[in-house]
Symmetry: C2
Amino acid sequence: MSTALTVEEAWAGLPATAQRLLVAGLETFGENGYHGTSTRAIAQRAGMSPAALYMHFPTKEDLLFEIARTGHEVHFARVRAAADAAGPDPSARVAAIVEASVLFHAEHHSLARTIQYEHPSLAPDHQRALLKIRRDTESFLADAVTEGVASGAFAPDDAPTAALALMSLAIDVARWYPSQRRRSPTQIATSYTHLALRLLRP
Amino acid sequence: MSTALTVEEAWAGLPATAQRLLVAGLETFGENGYHGTSTRAIAQRAGMSPAALYMHFPTKEDLLFEIARTGHEVHFARVRAAADAAGPDPSARVAAIVEASVLFHAEHHSLARTIQYEHPSLAPDHQRALLKIRRDTESFLADAVTEGVASGAFAPDDAPTAALALMSLAIDVARWYPSQRRRSPTQIATSYTHLALRLLRP
DNA sequence: CCTACCGATCGGTAGG
DNA sequence: CCTACCGATCGGTAGG
């Protein structure tokens, strides 16, 4: 169970060369996609020979999985940490979750794109493992929304659908950021958090 | 200027073989991505030899551009048609736009994924051409939201930001559809339209 | 962890 | 629009 709040932290125990390959992979996958990135390009970016990658990862797909898995776990850990810090009030909890998720997708948009769009490039077993983390993350948000419904703070037609929509809002930031208007991740997170509460209010 | 409401309609004037290649490309790009799709796979799906593609398109990238360009135009045309049919009321117009866009991204999720996620695979010139259509589409929605602000029907903090968020909601459907719960495109469109109006109301 | 190399496949073309 | 082919590059391995 990972509670690391950054990928660097999550990979801290690995050999330095493996860490460099993971970071190089994360960046190139985010820029050119999995199939648009060669193992040679990753190795070169990490300052190593083409064969070095296979010292640490059995296949290119295993490297992608390690990146995607860690990314999913870091995202979930940040969302939980933000909710914990927000205390018991449902509005504060939902606001903290949306803010943390939007921040993650803006600040780490290269990692986030890999997480969100390279899912079909993974082996079925690996897809299933990540789907579990996704569902847990979405349930965590849906539970916070449901608490708000119980307390009378929120009144969406359907809590799970509203939670899915809020996740969509955060996830899609990774697609367009930073091409849109000149706004910082913090500014985007603030306005999206506000939109989320507007959407949920009675 | 294209007013076609389907890609088939937009490509009706092209040779039958070119049409088959475009449809095969649209499907395979949507399933495996641009770099995950070989020109041979496209030609085979269209029932032709590997070289046939180059009778109709100078390069693989030109085929992608033709698909992405048509997809953008069809989406914009549907959004405009829906707004026109909705009449002058801002709430009805925004609802019609969101509904049409969500429907498009669910029913044509393979095309929509290509449009939204393969943008970086295109040449800079081609990216610019599509960016123009995207901006026009987003402005069209932003204008409808602004009309609603003027009439008192809506009260978002910032109309362009709200419009961007509504587009995100629709676009992200292409990422997860149809993996989520068993709901039809029409059902999804209806609940997302409702969420959009909740988000905008004073 | 590197050099050297494998067979397979890639985008694209020659020539008909 | 097909057959046959081009050089380049791919993921991955042998052997040290």
